[in-house]
């Protein structure tokens, strides 16, 4: 500094001289400096723009991939649902069609019986009265003939008439009773037919409702196959819901596994030792953890073998006989492990009592060693938990499958958001550098205001002279 201010005997003059020199130098390299700043700013702007475009392309590719994944997952899920619906319809139709011949025969028999009874129950027309001819014969008789004999004949006719009437009435009563009996016989047949028809009606209604469901599902399936935006939106939101729900259930399962771990870690020290370490972890703890993980694995295999989940296509593709064997093997291993856990839970309680008794003895508090009357309840509860928790953990396979499937989509969505934000940021940075270049040029010109002003004046004068010259000419 002292050197700079010492180039003349007067520091102020030195400073002014330096300023003039610097300004002059800056003015001389002004164009070069402006070009450099512009090139640097535009270079950075273009670089960031290119980077932003690359990120946008990646985002588009990822979005397309995510869309494909989403559609594939949705298509698979819909196919599974449709398959199940068709299975149900198949089952209903199979049951109904299998009984159709029996139903038809039963209905035909019932209808035949009704027809027969109906035929037999038809009202029989009464016999024409026999005394009409007798009345005609009496009417043709001569009046002069014996009146006495006519009276007798009429008296006989009267008697016959009363008798015939009685007989006709009796016959009528008998026939009516028979007809009523036949009609009564028809009643159960009618009821049977009604029941059968109601049953058929229910089956048909069920089929109709299922067909409506299938129509809806088919429509959704078609939307997915055609890759419509509505389908994508629905699948995306359902995937997010599935992700959070399955994550919540998995958290609960982790809680269960932790409880399970605490049940067996302590007694495990009896088997593998209480102090040996693998790394910084107790061997007993690792052994307990391994048992729980093996249980979860067995649960996964069991669920796969039962075709409830589809995490391992190899297991799903196994022949049915092998698959059933696998079900039994995994279930047996699970059962044995659950039994081991129940035993360990019991051992835990025994160890706890032993430890408490020893501590009490060492404290000299002998009374504290007595165990409570209801301690068996906690022992039984621990054993029960030790046995049930492995089976409960089996069902982790279901949320795990959902979690794994939805995770792909969710990770894709997060990655898309990150890429989008990155692209925006790069574009912004590019623009910032571009305008920073403009700003730097302006800042560069600030100390050069004097020469620039002079330059402007000179240029204006030159313009004015040129204009006057042209006007003079």
């Amino acid at each position: 500094m002292s050197f700079m201010l010492g180039i003349t005997p007067w520091p102020v003059a030195s400073a002014i001289l330096w300023i003039i020199l610097i300004v002059a130098a800056l003015y001389l390299v002004r164009n070069t400096a402006h070009n450099t700043i512009k090139a640097a700013a535009q270079g950075l702007h273009r670089s960031f723009k290119v980077a932003s475009k690359a990120v946008t392309r990646s985002e588009i590719k990822l979005e397309a991939r995510n869309r494909d994944v989403l559609l594939a997952a949705g298509r698979e899920a819909k196919e599974r649902i449709l398959e199940r619906e068709f299975d149900r319809i198949n089952e209903t139709v199979r049951k109904d069609l299998a009984n159709y011949s029996a139903l038809h025969r039963s209905l035909s028999e019932s209808i035949g019986r009704i027809e027969k009874d109906h035929q037999e129950a038809v009202d029989v027309p009464p016999d024409p009265p026999g005394w009409v001819k007798a009345v005609e014969a009496v009417a043709k008789m001569n009046a002069q003939e014996d009146r006495f004999s006519v009276g007798n004949i009429l008296s006989d006719i009267h008697k016959s008439l009363i008798k015939a009437h009685k007989e006709a009435m009796n016959a009528y009563h008998v026939a009516s009773a028979r007809r009523h009996k036949l009609l009564r016989h028809m009643r159960p047949d009618w009821r049977r037919i009604q029941q059968k028809l109601t049953q058929v009606g229910k089956s048909v209604d069920s089929l109709l409702s299922r067909s409506v469901t299938i129509d809806r599902l088919m429509q959704e399936y078609e939307d997915i196959v055609h890759g419509q935006d509505r389908a994508i939106s629905v699948l995306s939101s359902s995937s997010l819901v599935n992700f959070f729900v399955s994550a919540f259930v998995l958290c609960i399962a982790i809680g269960g596994a932790t409880i399970n771990f605490s049940l067996i870690a302590r007694p495990m020290a009896e088997m593998v030792g209480g102090t040996s370490l693998i790394g910084n972890f107790r061997t007993a703890d690792i052994a307990a953890l391994v048992i729980i993980l093996v249980e979860i694995s067995m649960g996964l295999f069991l669920m796969e073998s039962l075709r409830i989940t589809r995490l391992f296509p190899v297991i799903g593709a196994l022949p049915d006989k092998t698959r059933v064997r696998m079900i039994w093997i995994t279930f047996t291993i699970l059962f044995l492990l659950a039994s081991v856990e129940a035993g360990l839970a019991y051992m835990r309680e025994v160890l706890l009592h032993d430890e408490l008794a020893t501590s009490a003895l060492l404290r000299g508090d002998v009374g504290a060693t007595a165990t409570g009357e209801y301690m068996w309840i906690t022992t039984a509860a621990q054993m029960g938990m030790g046995f049930i928790l492995p089976f409960a953990l089996t069902f982790v396979a279901i949320p795990l499958e959902t979690f794994v499937h939805s995770l792909r989509t969710v990770v894709g969505l997060i990655a898309i958001s990150v890429l989008r934000a990155l692209s925006l940021m790069l574009r912004l940075l590019g623009n910032v550098f571009l305008y920073l270049g403009v700003l730097l040029k302006q800042v560069y010109d600030i100390p050069l205001f004097v020469p620039l002003w002079l330059e402007e004046r000179m240029a204006r004068n030159a313009d004015d002279d040129g204009l006057l010259g042209r006007v003079g000419r």
């Binding site: 302590r266 020290a269 009896e270 030792g273 209480g274 102090t275 040996s276 370490l277 693998i278 790394g279 910084n280 025994v350 160890l351 032993d354 430890e355 008794a357 020893t358 501590s359 003895l361 060492l362 404290r363 000299g364």
Partner: protein, 212 residues
């Protein structure tokens, strides 16, 4: 495949490395049975029980008496290297406590006090056990009284040992001249620290929390 082998090797290496640094504790307790100090043994029994409650699997514990010639295995009242299994540890602790209790009931006062011999025996025992932490508890008034002919002016190598003097009672002569008591403490501290050991004194037996 390669990753699996690498992971297995890593686990093995970690497992091997853990074996090199033992983390267990070894405790050797010396009980002064000389003269009137014999009456303090009930307090010592409490300390032993407390120590037992603090020790865990694979730890070692021995209790020995200080008598005329303490550099002997015969003076060990009870000793145990605790098993790896918790149930066996509990059994061993109960047995240990019983042995100590029986000793306290039947202990006879000894005419002389060979603390240095006991200290040598303690160092030998704990070095043999090879425990990670080594603690020697001296339940005594620290007044050494050797029988004629016993040579004990030896520097005991106590590097890595913690020596804790417990219940260092004041003698009648200490009350007349406290410098004797303070001098005894200083002398023992000097002997322990001279050979690399750590020295502590705990006279308040109600505050044993920091004992181990």
């Amino acid at each position: 495949m390669r990753t699996g082998i690498f992971a297995a090797l890593c686990v093995l290496l970690v497992a091997c490395s853990s074996e090199t640094t033992p983390r267990n504790t070894g405790v050797y307790m010396l009980l002064d049975t000389s003269g009137t100090y014999n009456e303090e043994l009930k307090k010592a029994e409490q300390i032993i029980r407390y120590t037992l409650s603090k020790l865990d699997a694979t730890d070692s514990f021995a209790v020995a008496r200080i008598d005329t010639g303490s550099f002997s295995e015969k003076d060990i009242v009870a000793k145990a290297s605790f098993d790896d299994r918790p149930s066996a540890v509990n059994r061993q602790k109960r047995l240990f406590a019983q042995q100590v209790s029986e000793f306290v009931e039947t202990a006879d006062p000894s005419p002389y006090t060979d603390i240095t011999g006991g200290l040598l025996q303690a160092v030998e025992f704990l070095n043999e056990k090879g425990t990670g932490n080594k603690t020697i508890l001296i339940f005594s008034d620290l007044k050494e009284d050797l029988a004629a002919g016993y040579i004990r002016d030896i520097d005991v190598e106590l590097e890595g040992f913690e020596v804790i003097a417990l219940n260092v009672t004041k003698l009648r002569s200490d009350n007349i001249d406290p410098r004797e008591y303070l001098g005894r403490l200083e002398e023992w501290q000097g002997r322990v620290e001279k050979t690399g050991g750590e020295w502590r004194v705990i006279n308040d037996l109600d505050g044993l929390e920091g004992l181990l």
